[in-house]
């Protein structure tokens, strides 16, 4: 990233502006399309500004984990495909992809948005296994929020393929919450939501806050080397909870 570009973004910030004209707490356009992959049990295509990804949910039967015999299993995988960015060229930057996948996964798991006990078919023997695969096609910054939205959208439209496994009629995946991830960065003392790729790279550090319908927090992740102050963190937490409500409302209208 050129020094010129950095300076430009700093100078804009001082004037209260962002490179794409957004307010500091404004998200880029969010486009979500569901059922885009007919062969998946659930799917969604998300465009968050320039960021573009597809989430597919595959569901099949399997054996529960020994320590949770009466609960279904969810597994989240995220691929930073080399077609999505020149930075992903020499093999995917495994570390980042793993972190993103695990935060998306915890967002779904810890918010208890899926009722895992309803994914049990025969306790200790057979449960539904829900595989959430995030395929990142274009990296325009803030993959985290886009991936979280895509995962929830795909799950909310997914079916348990019971008929395919001779287990009765297909039913929706039992969802009970809509966790929304909101990511912020800090540049020169200013907090900006939904960072673009340039903003993300200048900031160095992102803070993601995942919150639920009741306004509670179900997940957080600081990612990047710059430290944050308590004040900055608390400000982001409040802003994120508010913004999540707004995004969730729009999202549920779809």
């Amino acid at each position: 990233m050129s020094e010129l570009k950095k300076d430009l973004i700093y100078n804009l910030m001082i004037k209260g502006e962002r490179e794409d004209g957004r307010r500091f707490d404004e998200y880029r356009d969010i486009k979500i399309e569901t059922n885009v992959i007919e062969k998946a049990e659930g799917s969604a295509r998300v465009q968050l500004g320039d960021t573009h990804l597809v989430v597919g949910v595959k569901i099949q039967t399997g054996t529960p984990f020994p320590d949770t015999p009466d609960k279904g299993v969810i597994m989240t995988n995220l691929e930073l495909l080399p077609l999505a960015s020149p930075m992903f060229e020499s093999g995917p930057p495994r570390e980042d992809a793993v972190e993103l996948a695990r935060v998306v996964d915890r967002g779904i798991r810890e918010s208890e948005s899926i009722d895992l006990s309803k994914l049990c078919i025969t306790p200790g023997e057979k449960v539904w296994m829900v595989f959430i695969d995030v395929h990142v096609l274009d990296d325009g910054g803030n993959i985290m929020d886009a991936a979280s939205l895509g995962a929830i959208a795909a799950l909310m439209t997914a079916k348990l393929p019971a008929s395919r496994f001779d287990l009765g009629d297909d039913t929706p995946v039992p969802m009970r919450d809509v966790p929304v991830a909101v990511t912020a960065v800090e540049i020169g003392g200013t907090i900006m939501l939904d960072p673009s790729m340039n903003e993300q790279r200048i900031a160095g550090t992102k803070l993601t806050v995942i919150s639920n319908q009741d306004g509670g927090i179900s997940g957080m992740q600081k990612s990047g080397v710059n430290p944050l102050t308590t004040e900055q963190i608390n400000y982001i937490v409040d802003a994120a909870i508010e913004k999540a409500k707004e995004i969730r409302e729009k999202f549920l209208e779809i």
Binding site: K39, P82, L83, E89, F131, H135, L137, D139
Partner: protein, 243 residues
């Protein structure tokens, strides 16, 4: 689907096509922002996206060629692209498909213009329904053009097969599963064959007839490819943003 009794009835295939008819095709060039060139290609239920980066530096260095570009092709199926979830990552099939697809495109690329550099082609299969390698080659050919890579021509690809003892163009999944032969072909507009694979059972004569049928299919696709490219350029010239 269990094996149907007949795959062709009264000369019409189960999905309503005539034997020499392609599945519906949808093409969109320039769909990605970060890639130098890209293309989304639907071929019946197949949905693939191709991206091209390059010419760019080669890592690791010892893979450089001193007098031409290295062309790399990575065909990858999304885990969710098929009925039963596929484990992420390359398998033996995708390694072979990547190799023959690369070889299908290399002849039309002016590789000697870009010594010591790489031209990287990535093909992602979002949904698979028989024909992903040909869909990928069609998409990649347009993504190369979209990236401004100098090419002698486009490359077009489709399969021909045999079902119920009849040669048919562009097999769908059921025809592939229950058919008697499958033969993917790629060619340049002037009829040079750049990909040819076959498995199943064909007599020598059937093969020759089939190859002609595939060539006609490729020419049809070539027209749609050119139209999609023109649409992209027209859009650009109209001053619209390329979405």
């Amino acid at each position: 689907m269990a094996k149907p009794e007949k795959l062709i009835e009264n000369g019409i295939r189960l999905d309503g096509r005539r034997p020499d008819e392609l599945r519906p095709i949808k093409i969109k060039v320039g769909v990605l922002n970060r890639a130098d060139g890209s293309c989304y290609f639907e071929f019946g239920l197949n949905k693939v996206i191709a991206a091209v980066y390059g010419p760019r530096e080669v890592h690791p260095r010892h893979m450089q060629k001193s007098n031409s570009a290295v062309v790399r092709y990575k065909y990858n199926m999304a885990s969710f692209s098929v009925e039963d979830r596929k484990r992420p990552g390359p398998d033996r099939r995708s390694i072979e498909v990547s190799k023959v697809s690369r070889e299908a495109l290399e002849p039309v690329i002016f590789q000697e213009y870009f010594p010591r550099s790489a031209i990287d082609i990535f093909v992602e299969v979002l949904q698979a329904d028989a024909g992903t390698r040909t869909a990928g080659i069609n998409a990649a050919s347009l993504a190369l053009a979209d990236a401004g890579i100098p090419m002698k021509s486009l490359v077009s690809a489709c399969a021909v097969g045999k079902v119920d003892d009849t040669l048919v163009l562009d097999l769908n999944k059921d025809e592939d599963n229950y058919g008697q032969a499958d033969m993917p072909v790629a060619m340049t507009p002037d009829g040079k064959i750049t990909l040819l694979q076959m498995d199943g059972h064909l007599s020598g004569d059937e093969f020759k007839e089939g190859l002609e049928m595939a060539k006609k299919g490729c020419l049809e696709i070539a027209q749609l490819q050119r139209a999609a490219l023109l649409e992209k350029y027209a859009t650009r010239m109209d001053g619209e943003s390329n979405e």
